[in-house]
Amino acid sequence: MKSKLKRVVSLALVVGIMLCATGCWDRIEINERLFVLALAIDKFEPGRDVQNEEEGGGQHEEGKDQPEASPRNRMVVSIVFPNVGLLKKEGAIVPEEAKFSVSTVGPNISEAARQLNTRLNGNIFFGHVKAILVGEALIKDEKLFMEVLDELEREHEISRNVDFAAVKGDAKDALFIKPLVEPIIGTYIEKIFRQRKTGRFYAKDLGRIVTSIREIGGAVLPRLVVAEKEYNIAGGCLIKNNKFRAWLGEIETRAAQWIDNTGGEDVISIDISGIFIPFELTELKRRMRVWRDEADIIHLSIALEAEGNIAGHIIDVHREVMEQSFIREVETAVSRDMVAQCTAVMDKMQHEFGVDIWSIGEHIRKFHPQIWEDVKDNWAVEFTKMEVDISADVKVRRVGIIK
């Protein structure tokens, strides 16, 4: 009898402990989460047309509140999330769109996200954000831009290696288009960033950009231009003193990446007696050397070593690509072209903008600590005074499969 009682009591205890000791405050079913894939942040400018629209919802009420100018309305935060319901096989009633984009106005990202929660049917989750876009107007507003960067960096759900781009115009527009080739917007941007078949934009992530801005107040963001059914990510957006300074062209950005040793594959076309010969750049190495002369002038020498293929000539000339003299000619021309491009962008950075986008200061800190001791407090000026010498050694390795 006693043992029976004991058994009942211990069973009750076990069940009781199981009920009390297990539990979870953080349980969110996966279908209740809205997986944000891209985040776009703009500066709110009262005069301009900001529709509080919801794509896919299709309901545009008459006389819907237009956000007004108020100190609280500072930025437009837009998110895009995929229609996970489409993944269900059948039976479920789901909208047809592949993704939903929504946008709201708020004082900061966190509050804007909470405001979006009042309109959406799930929990906004930033853990899978693939791309963050910032609008032109936002980058031009130093204070707001720095606030946004801090908030993005502080949020633990957002990874530091998320792709980051500056949008010419409104970043919000980028989330509301229907891309032709890849319906899910965040993935689309991520895929453009990852393909590395061109060096026409700097693929830098959030962590690198924030660090660079913190260290030197400047950075180059990739530039994203929104078209009706696609994006074009090319060129760069130069940040100086924590805010927008200038747009950089594609060719400039490519040359800047050569100096940075981050350039991917690309094609350089050179004019040789009227034919634009495409030179496929397959490999690029850069050597950087810094020294100081007796007059205390810092010299920077950049030596590029490029390898590549001749990808085209003209049909009626026979055998020319097989001749060493022609190959030398191509090599010299490519080398001259590369040096000219690099020199131009270096000159621009040194004398027009004064931003050390290549972290040459960091290079000096690492490899020439003695020089760094002398220049670190005045690096912004020292950078502009540096003597730069750029050279390129180009080798043609292959010429395709015809003579």
Binding site: A21, W25, D26, H156, R160, N161, G207, T211, K366
Partner: protein, 376 residues
Amino acid sequence: MDDGEKITSNQLMAIMISTIIGIGILTLPRTVTEAVGPDGWLLVLVGGVVAIITSVVISKLGLMFPGKTMVEYSRDITTKTLGIIISLGFLTYYILFCAFEARIFAEVTKQFLLDRTPTEAIVITILFSSSYLARQDIATVGKMGQMMVPMFIIPAFLFLLPVIPELDPTNLLPFMRTSPLKFLTGLSTVVTSYLGFELLFLFQPFMARSRDSAKAMTVALTVIMLIYMLVVISAVFVFGVVEVQRLIWPTFSMYRVIEIPGAFIESIHGVMMVIWVVVVYMTLAVLFFSAVTILGRILSLKKHSFIALPLVFLIYFLALIPDNIPQVYDYLDMFSLYLGVPFGFVLPVALLIIAKVRGMGKEEGERHEKQTKKGS
């Protein structure tokens, strides 16, 4: 020895590795980089050597007074009152250590994993589960350590592999450009990340062959030192010296950045979090066990297991005192500087010197040796 339970030197190593690696490893890359910039890994190395030397000192002390823990021989070396004060100091030290461990565990878990779970719930859960181990005897703790150590060392290494192509080794440059003074100041902070090794005070008499303790400690601390260096170096490789100083928990942020290409789990951050729970559990359990044992020995109790539960509540309230994360870390800095360094590093050396000056222990040690010889 109350219960006649013994541990092997492998078990001692496992206990040490799982105890010393705890909450400190999350912030280590930041603290050493803040102190000496890119030479942080060197600081970790030197700190490890200091810890090894001190543990050899402790092992010597233990051999001078065989079968006795610090609680007893501190009375022999100094006086009875002073010995009790030292033991009470150790008790306070371990209780506070537990409280910090539990609180930081709760804060980090809340930040990265369970953002709606109340801190109180996380603290009390980890405390209760570790008090369970603290009630057991030393042999159980040793076996537990042996089980746990491979569970976290292997994945921690494996998960660092995918990041190798993105590493930038030049981030460790310039090499050795820190002033010696700065290095010495930094040393006082880095040695605190090895705290826990002084538990040898308590565990040595339980060893089946206590003469091996110095060797076991050297191996254990070398392993810890290598793990620390790996973490510091890879965090600096990934982030660079400037970025790493901005991150509160660079070690976690590093695993957050790592993506396994094409794998089902894209980010291994969550997995690391789970592994870290195991790490903290072991640290907390061993510290808890030590507090319980010290208290039991001060009160000369035959069995100490019943002290564990009341201590849970004391530690729980202590853990909840700081208001916010910055305050937790402020208190932790004070704790490691004013309690950790004196009890871990200064006291053992002082005790050894006093014991030598008073010419103590040798006799007893010789007698012990004879006894063991007779025994064999």
